[in-house]
Symmetry: C2
Subunit: 512 residues, 2 copies
């Protein structure tokens, strides 16, 4: 809205307006603010039709959750536990696109882990089966039952009922504390504001604290609404956030200690203190990119409100022609390493992909090779394709490679250096600035050759080179190195998501 203020202010400063005086400007500005508030209201009203479930959806989810909870409670009673509803169904903040609820089974901390897992799975399976649902077993910190009943996702998760967050046995034990806090602190009338925030984040690919998204969790959305009281207020606040921003709803910390707090939560752009555990940053998974992206989206929405911010952006895959144009424009070389993604959960896959890309960059840029990566990114459809994209600044090097050895006064090292390179040298050993130098033939003239050599190795060597284990296993089975635009275009034809990823790689990169 600042720009409108500027606009009116410039009017105010013009001679014409000056005659009318300050009053006139203030009235104009106020009038405009009212117009704007009206515009927000219109847009949010429209957005609510997207984010608010229909009465029938409401009815379906609530009756199913009630029924499921009572069945679980019945079973749990026999073995001495409790059961609670968890997830977005609590306080009614779920999105119609995500019909789901969780049931947490709380066992006494005296149970062994084995007993907790066995009982949890047994009860989960029994209840889902009784409700004619299908299920599979998933693994977080404990195994749990991941069911689907009549199109609704139902997770039944066992955990320990501990007295406080100080006594957590695993991260899942934390959820009941979150449920309790939200139940107590989030007024029902703010449910739709949470929904708006979630949908706003969702449409802009920042919803989810998982390793792929690196965005905001549902719990973080609820806390932000509790703190700022409305969706619009969250956006207004976000515009002013600075990296290292601290949001401490329960005021656990004095302002004097904020600097210390920042050094504890080092390199975290947003520090949203968990009201149920003062030592935890609820938004620890948020990437710096998404922190600034959220600030930018918030600013843009406040300046030019539009329903588009709540609708997932429709990306078109990049075409071969566009790609060729980009590469001519940038005069860089694209190299893709493609392989099958390992069959591991998303939260393991993405960190491994990113670590793999880092490792590859290091290998290419080792002094011995001296190639240079301009930028890189990773993609996977999580089914049959994983890609490391390397955009090369320097991908070709001369045949001649210079090796600088020890200073001539270091006799032992000099002897070793000369002995090692004497026969290999194309020129030298000679001396430059008192250091021994040889010129030898470079082994790998292109980054592609070096990559092919590095990755065409048995599993144990790949692991020794520091390639993450699951990725190394896949590479040992096979991979491809692609650079020609026609082959990249073929890949886009096979996998549209990759084409979209390519477009985002070249286009979606302005956070200021």
């Amino acid at each position: 809205m600042a720009k409108y203020k500027d606009f009116y202010f410039s009017l105010y400063n013009s001679d014409k307006i000056k005659k009318d005086g300050a009053c006139r400007w203030k009235t104009l500005y106020k009038k405009h603010e009212i117009i704007f508030m009206k515009k927000y209201q219109d847009i949010l009203k429209k957005a609510l039709t997207i984010v608010r479930p229909t009465p029938s959806q409401q009815k379906k989810l609530h009756s199913l959750s009630k029924k499921t909870l009572s069945l679980v409670k019945k079973e749990v009673k026999k073995v001495g536990g409790k059961a609670i509803l968890a997830g977005s169904i609590v306080k009614d903040v779920w999105l119609p696109s995500k019909m789901e609820f969780d049931i947490f089974i709380l066992f006494p901390p005296t149970f062994t882990e084995k007993k907790l897992e066995n009982l949890g799975l047994k009860i989960g399976k029994k209840v889902i089966t009784k409700l004619k649902g299908s299920f599979k077993i998933e693994y977080a910190e404990h195994p749990y039952v991941c069911g689907n009943i009549d199109g609704v996702d139902v997770d039944i998760v066992p955990c320990y009922e501990v007295k406080s967050t100080e006594e957590l046995k695993s991260a899942v034990d934390r959820t009941p504390f979150h449920v309790k806090y939200i139940e107590k602190k989030l007024p029902l009338k703010l449910s739709n504001d949470v929904r708006l925030l979630k949908q706003f984040l969702n449409a802009n690919e920042m919803y989810g604290a998982d390793a792929k998204t690196q965005g905001f969790s549902g719990y973080a959305c609820e806390l932000l609404i509790i703190r700022y009281k409305s969706f619009i207020n969250v956006l207004k606040a976000a515009v002013k956030w600075q990296p290292g921003e601290i949001i401490d709803i329960e005021k656990y910390y004095e302002k004097e200690n904020y600097q210390r707090l920042r050094s504890i939560f080092k390199n975290q752009t947003l520090i949203l203190i968990d009201p149920t555990d003062r030592k935890r940053n609820t938004t620890a998974a948020l990437s710096a990119q998404n922190f600034f992206k959220f600030k930018k989206c918030a600013k843009e929405f406040l300046e030019r409100p539009s329903i588009d911010f709540f609708l997932p952006k429709k990306w078109k895959p990049m075409t071969e022609e566009e790609l060729i144009r980009k590469l001519i424009e940038r005069k860089t070389e694209l190299i893709l390493i493609t392989f099958s993604p390992p069959a591991v959960i998303s939260d393991i896959l993405w960190p491994q992909l990113r670590r793999f890309a880092d490792r590859i960059q290091n290998i290419l840029e080792e002094t011995k090779y001296e190639f240079k990566v301009l930028r890189k990114d990773v993609y996977s459809n999580e089914k049959d394709l994983a890609v490391v994209l390397l955009e090369m600044e320097i991908s070709r090097l001369p045949v001649i490679q210079k090796r600088i050895g020890p200073i001539v006064f270091d006799l032992d090292d000099s002897e070793r250096f000369i002995k090692k390179y004497k026969d290999m040298a194309i020129l030298g050993p000679y001396i430059e600035n008192n250091y021994w130098v040889v010129e030898i033939k470079r082994h790998f003239l292109t980054a592609q050759e070096k990559l092919l050599d590095t990755l065409s190795k048995p599993l144990d060597i790949l692991l020794a080179k520091g390639i993450p284990n699951y990725i190394a296993q896949e590479l040992a089975k096979g991979f491809q190195i692609i650079s020609e635009t026609s082959k990249i275009a073929d890949l886009i034809k096979k996998d549209e998501g990759f084409g979209i990823f390519l477009r985002k790689y070249f286009e979606e990169k302005n956070l200021a």
Copy 2:
């Protein structure tokens, strides 16, 4: 000779020889050593015909020097000074290719500098004129008269007669001390050994302590013969020299202090203590390259004695075809900066050329540009051509250039960075590892463009960029940047010396 020893030793170890016993091997080895000594004698005899002046040359130089000295002495007497012969004529160590002698006029230290210079020049001019020679005034630390009489170079140099080297007023005052020392310590019978050493160094381009050659002075040659007693012994010793070698003829230092001495004469490969001044290294100008080159030549001569070591090597200029082959082999790019050498003495020209080349490398390799020089060298015919040769490892870069900014937590710097690059950015600002990054269009895509821009500037800017003053003055008048092999070939046609320099650049580079 070691290799012959090895050869006989291997024979000795063979079964056949073992029967004959150790005695037989020793006899063989001794016999061989005798054969070898005979071979040295033959070669050195031949070499002496090159290095020893003919009787008529001897007569001419000695009579002229006597006559000149007596004339100078007569003039000097009137004003209260002395005169001595200096240079290679003392102790008869001059080469027939260099018919020359120096006369030093020694004035009392009470004379003002002005008076010394005026009297020195006046006497010099008068004497040379009387002998029907031509002369010009040259400038070392004082101006002096540089004459030529009947084809003989005669320098008449004024200096102060000080009591000891502790009281030197300038470097020329040192010469009388050197003359006295050599007169006293070099036996006449070793004159020809000095000549052999000088010619050996001369033929291999290591004779002269000037800034271009960076080799051994005549005085250093005389000292080496005094120390090792013969030419062959100097070579045998040199083979064993190690960087930081200390030769202390007058035993001024205890061996315990050698390490400290090396740290005083830091980065000097050969420390030949001046017997007339214990604080001075006579071979301070010797480059590390020439130190190792001398060791290598010595080793090769001892292993395979040949008259060739005393004959200047005949280099052929590189041909265009050879150059093309080299560049295809190496896959590098040659860039030449050519310009007129400034009209300054050689000892100023060469250090400035080398500093200029260093500066150019730094400018090309600044982070902003990121070109990379593999190797470089400088050439001048000291008349109308000076060249900086740059062999590029990376001479072309993509259009896209990445600028990495501050960490996002550094708010002020981040603001400045974003403000600076926001409009310039082709992509970004975005974030990588918590640092702001932008991609901008690179200004100079090739090293040639960058060079052209850097050097096409007025004199004051060139000087501000750290380009040595005399070179900067020439560049401001004009220069060329050449890269195409056909144009390099044209340059070779115009200047054969440059063609030879090019061949040496690619070929003469093995010091081990």
